[in-house]
Structure formats: structure tokens, C-alpha cells
């Protein structure tokens, strides 16, 4: 189940009009929502794996401070998904733990 739900039923002006893709899966969202909000209302609220230990992380502060909502958006890594508004066709990926560098 999702962590957050939309209080309003779908109606005129409230329709889920925007479709984004998160890790290859289509996700419906409403215009004006941030990518992080759409992810928190989906069945998987995680945004990335922690870079050192690899544990899953989800958006935490929703105001551009904590950087736990970092995601890859339209090919650009490390975007703060709480500061990016959904756009039709947006390609979003959860960020994996960076690969270890071997000397």
C-alpha cells in the first residue's frame, strides 16, 4: 500500500492527467505534483539506495534540504525529486548505490 493517498476523488480538474514512468512502470499523477509526491503516493515510496550501505531511502523533508529524494530524471542523475514537477512522459529511475571503485 502507498504511504500517502490523494484526498480528492478524481473529478473535473482533479484528473490524473500526467503519466510518468518510474523504473519502467507507468505511474499516474496529477498536474502540479512533484515527482517525489507521486512516488510517495505509489506502492513503492523509495527514491534511492543509500550510497554507502545501500539501504533503501525515501523522500524525507520535501523541501529541498535533505537530498534523500535524489532520483534520475530524464537521464540526469542526482535530481532532487521533491523540487521537480511531473511532466508528461517523464522518465524517472530510482538511484542504485554507486559501484565500488576498484584500484
Amino acid at each position: 500500500m502507498s504511504l500517502f493517498r490523494r484526498l480528492h476523488e478524481d473529478g473535473p480538474g482533479d484528473a490524473m492527467t500526467v503519466t510518468i514512468t518510474v523504473d519502467g512502470v507507468a505511474l499516474q499523477a496529477r498536474a502540479g505534483e512533484s515527482v517525489a509526491a507521486a512516488v510517495l503516493a505509489s506502492s513503492d515510496p523509495t527514491s534511492r539506495a543509500a550510497p554507502v550501505g545501500g539501504a533503501p531511502r525515501a523522500p524525507y523533508c520535501m523541501m529541498g534540504v535533505c537530498f534523500d529524494c535524489l532520483m534520475e530524471i530524464d537521464g540526469e542523475t542526482n535530481r532532487q525529486s521533491c523540487m521537480v514537477i511531473v511532466r508528461e512522459g517523464m522518465m524517472v529511475k530510482r538511484m542504485a548505490r554507486p559501484k565500488a571503485v576498484t584500484p
Binding site: 484526498l7 502540479g32 515510496p45 543509500a50 523522500p59 523533508c61 523541501m63 535533505c66 514537477i85
Partner: protein, 457 residues
């Protein structure tokens, strides 16, 4: 390089009020904000809610509604609003580095008003990095901007006006609350400060919130002294200890809050001179009565200069704008004095409530109970134990702790761990927070790609 008379950084209550007044008096004003619309955090999405989701005002409440008039006046003013714009650099010569539409640029301002507001005090508890643990402010932002609320009964933990406001909003919206875990006791130390807080209307508002929460039948567990978020990969339960015993509540969502602190990231990066606020346990810029910093032409308004709340912030914004108008010769000394007097009186009436709130909801000691295994730096995953170990190896301050442990070197640039790391060092070494100091914050204060930087002329 583009230029302007006055650059205002942040479009919350302080920034909107400052920009509106300054632009109406003939200054060329530019306002930068990272968000897509004015309002800041406190009035987040106020325009959308007023226009398209008017019925949500019923549960968002009166104090939120107050932001609509500020935003309307701001939009009607000649101030140039640049939403979606990140300020990543402010130099002492008032050159500003901005990032907009993936391109960096420099702007030269004659004067600058910094109105970057507040952020929530980080609350390190075991398990606070689990998905399902967020801040009260984060959840309130979702309620305001997207009309989103918890899917299952939620636990709120901590204390302070924002926590009780969100609880009252959830009750009014019919959203289930599993429990409020109120940390600490409401101390008697607040009593001497009751009268000014009453006069400012703060106590009346607070009591109304608490009444609404009680009438909603919310389970409030008080005197909570320890919290732990439990779960594997996701939050599953919140364990707590009160002075009487222990308990555990199964929930997928825990919202933490221990008050707010001045967002000093930009003011520290310039750097302006700062002082440690013992009562609010945070750093804030040293300002004169008009909000001027120690750097010529750079002033700070609203919560970024010390926590006063949204109403105080609007008056503070106008006060600082009046000082700018006087300095740039747009109003005379006598006109300034008359206008400033009104704003200063109103500002101080709202500020007078703070000693009561600060004493009623004292910030927790960030170092006392932290278990060695608890993460303090979320970005680089550094624990309290690693900081203590670094101190025992001779690490003398926060900046050394960075090189010892990597704490504060991640993308948040110490926003989430700075105060905790300093408090741990202060406790281990027996120094005060002023003596220990803070991370040296350096620009760019928001990450910038080389490609974005390449757009600079």
C-alpha cells in the same frame, strides 16, 4: 552581467512582503525562489489552493489562509518574480549566482535581502532513515501542495506548534492519527512568558488547536523520553519509552518534529557574522534593528534571521525593505521612521510570543541520549559513535570531524547533521556550542553540474 536595485532571495512571507513594499516604492526588485510558486513553506501552494482547491481551506485553517493576501499583493506589485530559480552563490560584493532552466548566470544586485526562512530541526533517532519516516513539515507540504494525506493511521512524534497544527488539520480533514507521541514535559519554565504570548494571540490559537485534536479523539501520549523507528527496509512500528513505561505502535508512517531553526546555509556561506541562539539552539546571523548584517548592503528578513513565525516574518520583511528604500534614497528619513515604527511595533508583538514557545517546547539536547549506533549524517551514513570516536582520537571541531568521518560531506552539505555533530563534540569535549562552532559552509550551496556552470559568460 544583469543587475537590479534589490534582489530578494526567498518568496515566503518575509520575501513577499519585502519585495512588494520595495517594488511599490519604485525599486527594481527581483525575487528568486526554488519553488514554482510564491508562499514559502508556510504558505506553500497558497495560490493553487485559493483558486482551484478552495474547499481545502476548511481543513488547512485560518493561519494558512492569511498567506493569500500576501501572495496577491506580491503578484500585483511590479517586483519581478523568478520561480524555479536556485541561488547557489552570494558574494560579499553582492554578485549572485543563480541557476534557472539548467543554466547558471551571475546577477549584480545593489542590495540583497535574504529571506530563506526556516528548516525543521533534524531529529536523529534510531531508524530515522527508514522509508516511512519523514518530517511533520514534509507531510504538511504534501497536504498543502497536493492534498495528499497518510493512507494508514499515522504517528506524529515530537513537539511544537507545527506538529499540533498538522494534527488539527488531519483531524479536520478526517485523516486517521494512530497517536501523538509528545516528547518531553510541558515545562513550568514557560509560565513567566505567558502574558506576551497571550497578547500576541499565540496562546489562543494554540489552545484552539489542542482542543480540536482532543475533540478528534486523538491518542496523545505525553512525557515520551525515547523513540525508535523499527522495520526492515520500510517502517513497521514505532517503539517509545515514557517516564512510566514502554510501548509500541504498528504504523507505516512516522512524522518527526522538534521545532524549526533558521535556515543559515546561505548566510553562513557568504559568510555573514553569526551568533549562537541558546534559547532556540541554532545559529543565526547577527543583525541590527533594521535587519542589516555585518556586510554592507546585505540584510536578512524573517525566520532566516531568527525564528519568529510567519506573521512576524511579514513585518520583518517590510522593516528590512524600508531600510533598503532609505539607503537607496527612495524615502526620506522622516517617512522611514514613521513607516518603520508601525512595522516594528507589530513585529515585536509577534516576536514577544517566542520566549513562551521556546520555553514550552525546548529543543531536545541533541547529544545526550544518542546511542552510538544512531546515524547522525544521513548522506554519508556516519553514526554518533563514529563522531565520539573521532573526538577521542583528537578531532577538535566540526570541520575536522568532516575529514575524520566524512560527516557533512554529502549532498546536503551538513544541513541535516551539522547541529548534531557539533553538539556531540561539545558534549565530549566540555565546550559550549559557540566554542565548537559549525561546519564551514562553502558555495555552491546547491549542487551544480559542470554543464550548468558552463553557461556562465
Amino acid at each position: 552581467m544583469a543587475s537590479c536595485d534589490l534582489a530578494v532571495i526567498g518568496a515566503g512571507p518575509a520575501g513577499m512582503a519585502a519585495a512588494t513594499l520595495a517594488a511599490e516604492h519604485g525599486l527594481d526588485v527581483v525575487v528568486y525562489d526554488e519553488n514554482p510558486a510564491p508562499g514559502g513553506q508556510i504558505y506553500r501552494a497558497i495560490e493553487t489552493v485559493s483558486l482551484a482547491r478552495n474547499s481545502d481551506l476548511a481543513f488547512l485553517g485560518e493561519s494558512y489562509r492569511a498567506g493569500a493576501a500576501l501572495a496577491r499583493a506580491f503578484r500585483a506589485s511590479p517586483a519581478r518574480f523568478m520561480p524555479g530559480t536556485t541561488v547557489w552563490l552570494v558574494q560579499k560584493d553582492r554578485a549572485i549566482g543563480i541557476l534557472r532552466d539548467g543554466k547558471a548566470a551571475m546577477v549584480q544586485a545593489n542590495r540583497i535581502i535574504i529571506a530563506t526562512g526556516a528548516l525543521e530541526r533534524p531529529v536523529p533517532v534510531p531508524g530515522w532513515t527508514l522509508p516511512g519516516v519523514m518530517t511533520v513539515g514534509a507531510a504538511q507540504g504534501l497536504l498543502k501542495s497536493a492534498a495528499m494525506a497518510p493512507s494508514s493511521p499515522v504517528v506524529l512524534a515530537g513537539k511544537g506548534p507545527l506538529l499540533f497544527q498538522l494534527a488539527a488539520q488531519y483531524v479536520a480533514a478526517g485523516v486517521a492519527i494512530a497517536a501523538i507521541l509528545e516528547t518531553g514535559a510541558r515545562p513550568i519554565a514557560a509560565l513567566p512568558h505567558v502574558w506576551p504570548a497571550w497578547r500576541s494571540g499565540t496562546i489562543g490559537k494554540g489552545l484552539a488547536l489542542l482542543r480540536a485534536i482532543r475533540q478528534g479523539g486523538v491518542n496523545i501520549i505525553r512525557n515520551v523520553v525515547a523513540l525508535e523507528a523499527e522495520g526492515r527496509g520500510r517502517l513497521e512500528a514505532v517503539a517509545y519509552r515514557t517516564v512510566r513505561g514502554t510501548g509500541r505502535i504498528a504504523t507505516p508512517l512516522l512524522l518527526l518534529h522538534e521545532g524549526v531553526i533558521a535556515n543559515a546555509q546561505l548566510t553562513k556561506a557568504i559568510p555573514l557574522a553569526h551568533e549562537w541562539n541558546e534559547r532556540q539552539q541554532c545559529w543565526q546571523p547577527m543583525l541590527d534593528a533594521d535587519g542589516n548584517s555585518d556586510v554592507e548592503g546585505i540584510a536578512v528578513a524573517g525566520d532566516a534571521g531568527g525564528i519568529g513565525g510567519a506573521e512576524a516574518a511579514a513585518h520583518s520583511g517590510r522593516l528590512v525593505a524600508l531600510a533598503a528604500l532609505k539607503a537607496l534614497g527612495k524615502i526620506g528619513r522622516i517617512a522611514h521612521e514613521a513607516l518603520a515604527e508601525t512595522e516594528r511595533t507589530a513585529w515585536q508583538r509577534h516576536l514577544a510570543a517566542r520566549p513562551f514557545l521556546d520555553a514550552l517546547y525546548p529543543p531536545p539536547d541533541a547529544s545526550a541520549q544518542l546511542a552510538d549506533g544512531t546515524l547522525v549524517c544521513r548522506c554519508e551514513e556516519v553514526t554518533a559513535g563514529q563522531i565520539r570516536e573521532a573526538v577521542s582520537l583528537g578531532c577538535a571541531g566540526p570541520n575536522q570531524a568532516k575529514s575524520f568521518t566524512r560527516a557533512g560531506m554529502g549532498p546536503c552539505q551538513g544541513r541535516m547533521c551539522g547541529l548534531t555533530v557539533a553538539a556531540l563534540i561539545a558534549r565530549e569535549t566540555g565546550q559550549s556550542m559557540s566554542e565548537v562552532g559549525h561546519y564551514r559552509i562553502r558555495p555552491p550551496i546547491k549542487p551544480l553540474t559542470v554543464g550548468e556552470l558552463a553557461a556562465l559568460e
